[in-house]
């Protein structure tokens, strides 16, 4: 017996029956929304050359990628993200296609997380990418699609908006080098007010430093815009804030009410995102269930510069959420169990095909005897039995009988 022959690698798991069904339901709901809004499905390979995900432009650290080598010794990774491969696709096979490209995907991504932390290394994501479109209409389209997709699955989520450029515009006003800037960014990302203050205390105290100090606290409802307005310090920052406000005002019409929020301290993957960024949170889910944003510089990495925006939904997280909210789909039982005694096996199979071709569901018994077949039907809770001999004989196993069968 091999040591690891009966377990799955850490961070992975089997999905069985109800759990599997909930996943499929979520997948289908999301796909239906994406398809009905004119997005076309694509599937990219489960493994790609590591060069596709260079850490600088993808914001994905090399150590979190599962790596292997192909026969020629070239580094291959298991897809750690879907946006980079889709950008590759858009820049190569779809370069002459009519723009904008409206693409959606449902596929697994792989991350090598630290052991024993309970995080999944394999995550099913479903998302869209709108490539070759800039401006407010494109931003609204992406965000409205995200809202519709999530609303189909769970009514109880909050959507949060930010702008990747806002931090950059303020950081540009500070006399800091790249390393300091990264330190400041990471303390803002962690809302580590104390460490941010320590970093900023070392600088000459200008209005821009004061603005940076406030940045991680600038989150909440619409009042954030008024709070942030006096802190901009440059045309650029002010125009970004104004733009975000106008997006916010438009999105209010989607009926999110106070479930629409703003966080100007959203500075994750700041070299990757260029404009609006957004994420969604749900009660009882410790992490974001949806992440997205505008990434206008990414395609130039593949020599095909074009603006783009997209998002991805964590299908596993949404499925878990539905499960916790008590959504329990029944695994369907076949309407009828078909059995053919010796000599009538083929007739039974043809009868079964007849049932399924008319939209019914049935199982063909693989037991040798009628007694075994009846016992099996009782264990499985199948109520109708069709015994296909010279004639077809229908047998009903009512519930009491079925229960009695279980007890035996």
């Amino acid at each position: 017996m091999k040591k690891y022959s009966k377990v799955t690698p850490e961070g992975t798991k089997d999905l069985l029956f109800e759990e599997c069904l909930i996943h499929r339901v979520v997948e289908q709901k999301l796909s239906r929304v994406f398809a009905s809004r004119g997005f076309n499905e694509v599937v990219t390979p489960g493994m790609e050359f590591m060069d596709v995900f260079d850490p600088e432009s993808s914001g994905i650290a090399p150590e979190v990628m599962y790596k292997m080598a192909d026969r020629r010794g070239r580094l291959i990774v298991m897809r750690p993200d879907s946006t980079m491969p889709i950008a590759r696709l858009a820049a190569t096979r779809l370069q002459n296609e009519e723009k904008p490209l409206r693409l959606y995907y449902t596929q697994r991504i792989y991350r090598n997380n630290p052991n024993l932390t309970g995080r999944s290394d394999e995550v099913l994501q479903s998302g869209v990418e709108l490539l070759g479109a800039a401006g407010k209409r494109a931003d609204l389209e992406a965000i409205a699609t995200a809202v519709e997709a999530l609303s189909c699955c769970t009514p109880d989520f909050r959507l949060e908006l930010g702008h990747a450029g806002f931090f950059r515009a303020i950081a540009d006003q500070l006399p800091i080098n790249g390393e300091q800037r990264e330190n400041i960014r990471s303390t803002i990302e962690a809302k580590n007010y104390a460490a941010l203050n320590t970093l900023l205390d070392g600088l000459v105290q200008t209005p821009s430093v004061a603005a940076m100090r406030r940045l991680p606290r600038l989150f909440g409802g619409e009042e954030v815009f008024a709070e942030a307005a006096p802190l901009c310090g440059s045309e650029e920052a002010a125009s970004m804030l104004e733009y975000l406000h106008s997006l916010y005002s438009s999105l209010v019409k989607l009926g999110l009410g106070d479930r629409l929020m703003v966080d100007l301290g959203l500075v994750q993957r700041n070299d990757y995102y260029t404009g609006v960024v957004f994420s969604a949170y749900a009660q009882d889910c410790g992490d974001a269930i949806l992440l997205g944003g505008r990434y206008d510089n990414l395609l130039s990495r593949f020599d095909m510069p074009m603006p783009a925006i997209g998002f991805s939904v964590n299908v596993d997280a949404v499925a878990k959420l539905l499960e916790e909210q008590g959504y329990a789909p029944d695994c369907p039982k076949p309407d009828v169990l078909v059995y053919g005694p010796e000599g009538y096996e083929m007739k039974a199979l043809l009868f079964a095909s007849g049932v399924t071709s008319q939209g019914g569901s049935c199982e063909t018994s693989v037991f040798e005897t009628e007694e075994e077949t009846i016992a099996y039907a009782r264990r499985r809770g199948i109520v109708r039995l069709a015994i296909v001999g010279e004639k077809v004989q229908e047998l009903r196993l009512d519930r009491e009988n079925a229960k009695g069968g279980e007890g035996r």
Partner: protein, 215 residues
């Protein structure tokens, strides 16, 4: 409304936090007479969970606790995907590199061996110095390692330095100061902003007051 759930690191940080809550007017009777229970109500709006330091981070990261009180040492060692919103100003100590008294740690070319309970912190420190070292993880009294000849130095938490002195060690360099931090789950801060911000700012005010008193 569900109470906010806050995980406290068992022991001194738990006592200091409870003292802080009591100054803020919370009824901490249940925590003071906890018996063997590990989830305890504090007033109507808070629920305290008692856990080991690293577990506080795990519970907060997964969102089963909204907030947590944990030492900066644990945060540095275990990484962070949560918000670290407040330095609580208690549980002060520091990470330090210590070597046998009189030994010149930095001299010579041979690679150093470092014993520590905090391998990630030690590695990050020496990486920032561009120094290649061998790190050995020790679970108990790290001071033993250089005494027994296993390592050249240790990276450990130092409060007063008495233990170091009594074992013939001295501080070569301070790595960084440490104190208790209030951490918050990313989704919780967004979903329960008002409650959490109100609590954080009250804790901040009380912490400041205390700092003022001791000065």
């Amino acid at each position: 409304m569900k109470p906010l759930r806050i995980a406290l690191t068992k022991g001194r940080l738990e006592k200091d936090t409870v003292a802080l809550f009591e100054k803020m007017g919370y009824d901490c009777e249940a925590v003071r007479n906890k018996g063997r229970r590990l989830i305890l109500p504090v007033g109507d709006s808070l629920e305290v969970v008692l856990a080991k330091a690293a577990d506080v981070i795990t519970y907060v990261e997964h969102g089963v606790c909204d907030m947590g009180v944990v030492g900066k040492d644990t945060i540095m060692e275990n990484g962070s995907s949560f918000y670290e919103v407040l330095d609580l100003g208690f549980g002060h100590c520091r990470f330090a590199l210590a070597a046998p008294q009189g030994a010149d740690f930095w001299s010579g070319y041979s690679a150093r061996t470092i014993a520590t309970k905090y391998p990630a912190t030690a590695r990050a420190f020496f990486e920032s110095r561009g120094m290649d070292v061998d790190i050995i993880k020790i679970e108990g009294s790290v001071e033993l390692a250089p005494l027994l000849g296993l390592s050249d130095a240790i990276v450990d938490i130092v409060e007063t330095g008495t233990t170091l002195r009594e074992n013939g060690l001295e501080i070569v360099e301070e790595v960084c100061p440490i104190s208790a931090r209030l951490i918050v789950n990313v989704a919780s801060l967004k979903l329960r902003k008002r409650e959490i911000e109100a609590l954080v700012s009250r804790m901040e005010r009380e912490t400041r007051k205390e700092k003022g008193e001791t000065k």
